[in-house]
Amino acid sequence: MSALETAVATSPPSLPELFTGFLKIGLMGFGGVGPVARHIIVAERNWLDDRAYAELMGICQALPGANTVNAAVMLGDRFRGAAGALTCVFALMAMPLLSLVALANIYDAVSGHPLAQVALTGAAASAAGLILGTAARLLAKAGLARWAWLMAAAAFVAVGVLRLPMLPSLLVLVPLGLVAASLGARRV
């Protein structure tokens, strides 16, 4: 039995508990929900221990979509079935979407003003740096093998430099990565 199954087998949280937990994750996740999600799921609510949480995030990483959304789906489903999954995703998205609507309305109100235009341009330049810096940090600590660095570079060049459509790029890159990963995993 995996750590995740053991954790789920003992006293699953109710739907209202899941709702308030994920509502809080969504509300507190300014600048990224990852750390907040861990804090609430592991430390505050005791839904999972550290090992089970790492297991959960491991599978979420291997799936498309935001990690936290996938975690909400999987935890909700494990604890309370499809209704649990819906509850968790709805709770996770509710407050962020309300804040986004508020921000969008402010944007609408001010975007004609020259100074607001300048501020938004500066914010856009900064936001790009945020993603680049985060990617660089993750790359630095990922401990990638040589083939994996090549895969990362190929993905960057194909989509970021050559601006190729993403679907065909992934249809080439993902199978190549899978072959390299299974060869690499066998050698270790």
């Binding site: 600048g31 291997a62 789906v73 962020p96 500066g122 810096g133 995993a185």
Partner: protein
């Protein structure tokens, strides 16, 4: 005509949902390509600004789809784009959650993760590059991008801090008449 806009949002974000390995930060170039270049729903600077606003709000990064939907078709567009971005990947997660019983020692999951992590990180760099070009903030804008990237890379401070600082510096330099 309204209906076709909603239909297009469903198709665009519904397919992007399944390509978003590592989340929406991997698919900024594809969203830009479809929304700005193919559909022509907004210009590149507007897209970059919406991207910045989505970064400012709390919550998962999939909200880039939400704000693009909002800009194109108001609250209805926001809800449709959000649902389209969330649903396919969530259904897949649900199927995997039920299909895979033992995550921890599952060799298949390990190999998929090993293969996808470098691709996701390369795509994230591509997202940053495409967003920097779309921002159209000039040479000084690139300096702001580089400085924000450096601070984010080096320190564990909340990402909103370097982002706010970058914005303030950009506005200050512009106000001083230097841009």
């Amino acid at each position: 005509m309204e209906r076709s806009v909603f239909g297009q949002l469903v198709v665009t974000f519904g397919t992007i949902s399944l390509m978003a390995i590592g989340g929406a930060n991997a698919v900024v170039p594809e969203i830009h390509r479809q929304i700005v270049e193919i559909l022509g729903w907004m210009d590149a600077p507007t897209f970059a600004r919406l991207f910045a606003i989505a970064q400012t709000a709390p919550g998962p990064n999939v909200m880039l789809a939400s704000i693009v939907g909002w800009h194109v078709a108001g609250t209805g567009g926001l809800l449709v784009a959000t649902a389209a971005m969330l649903l396919p990947s969530s259904v897949l997660a649900l199927a995997c959650s039920r299909g895979l019983r033992r995550f921890g020692d599952n060799r298949g999951v390990r190999i998929v993760t090993l293969a996808l992590v470098p691709i996701a990180l390369g795509l994230m760099l591509a997202s940053g590059a495409v967003a920097a070009l779309a921002a159209d903030a000039g040479l000084f804008g690139f300096a702001i991008t580089a400085a924000t990237a450096f601070v984010t890379y080096r320190s564990k401070v909340n990402p909103l801090v370097p982002m706010a600082a970058g914005t303030v510096v950009y506005v200050a330099v512009w106000s001083a008449g230097l841009l």
